[in-house]
């Protein structure tokens, strides 16, 4: 079953001091992931960015899995990042304007492999001065994985929820003109309806503070 999983962490809402405490980060990172940070490639990455980068990967993988394992409970230390490569370009990107969109593969991303039991996923992450965002997929080819990020004015929960749905539907409308709706199924993951029929597009939504983000899987060539 195809699924989707993404996450965004607003760096403004991160408590750097608390993140650096062992009793905090040890509830997110496994012992191997803690050791991985000491590799030379991470020398220029602040520890809090590392912790929340891995958090965003784990949360994204959890969302991906939740579609196929409805009873799954998020337990960060059981979702293990095995491998991380840092971007060829800048480690921290400027987030210019209010919106960013991408699909497919790029060397600008942090990327790697994440494991949950017998499940293997791959991730792409991007770090700006204001946020860390991740999307996961079940193979290394991200060409049909679409994701977008937008800044919003109001960080209230209901505004975030409305804004992320609008952002997603505006993008999906470019493929599916007409009246689209986002509903949550009983397990809690979002489904896309057109004329009340499920389009069976795996989508994932995330928001934190003043940022909202979506991801979905869609091959536009199969969509006519």
């Amino acid at each position: 079953m195809k699924s989707a999983g993404n996450d965004i962490v607003a760096l403004r809402s991160v408590d750097k001091q608390r993140t650096s405490q062992f009793r905090f980060y040890s509830k997110i990172l496994s012992a191997l992931e803690q050791a991985l940070y000491h590799q030379p490639q991470f020398a220029e990455i602040p520890f809090e960015n590392y912790v929340w980068l891995l958090w965003s990967v784990k949360e994204s993988a959890y969302k991906y899995l939740k579609r196929t394992i409805p009873g799954l409970v998020f337990s960060p230390t059981k979702i293990i990042i095995q491998h991380i490569e840092i971007p060829v370009g800048p480690l921290i990107n400027k987030f210019e304007g209010i919106q960013w969109e991408s699909n497919g593969y790029s060397e600008e991303f942090y990327r790697g492999k994440v494991i949950y039991g017998s499940h293997t996923f791959y991730f792409r992450s991007k770090i700006s001065e204001e946020w860390i965002a991740t999307v996961v997929n079940n193979n290394e080819n991200f060409e049909n994985v679409w994701w977008g990020i937008q800044s919003i004015d109001d960080a209230g929960y209901y505004h975030q929820s409305k804004a992320v749905r609008t952002l997603l539907l505006n993008k999906l409308n470019s493929f599916f003109p007409g009246d689209l709706q986002v509903e949550k199924n009983p397990v809690g993951y979002p489904v896309i309806l057109k004329d009340l029929e499920d389009l069976h597009i795996p989508v994932s939504l995330a928001h934190d503070d003043r940022f909202v983000a979506y991801s979905f899987i869609l091959n536009p060539l199969n969509n006519s």
Binding site: V9, D15, Q21, V73, F74
Partner: protein, 85 residues
């Protein structure tokens, strides 16, 4: 310490992470922290750390993953307090 006292204290632990403070007045043991209180999942670790400090207990991974409802949070806190007594 009885269950009712922990329930009352837990509201104070949850308050900084709950956007709508009025919702806390109407919570029950069945209230889901993320779905009902709209607590950001990233704050669940904060809540576990705050509960550890409040009750001088240590909450292991297996117990932490049960703490997604108010009632299960109370179960874990009581269990860990009994273990450290």
């Amino acid at each position: 310490m009885d269950r009712k006292t922990i329930f009352t204290e837990l509201k104070k632990v949850l308050a900084p992470y709950t956007e709508n403070k009025e919702m806390l007045d109407g919570i029950s043991e069945e209230t889901d922290l993320i779905r009902d209180l709209k607590i950001n999942s990233a704050n669940l670790v904060d809540i576990i750390i705050d509960a550890e400090s409040q009750y001088n207990i240590e909450i292991d991974f297996d117990s932490a993953e049960k703490m997604y409802k108010v009632g299960s949070c109370i179960d874990v806190i009581i269990d860990k307090m009994n273990q450290s007594a």
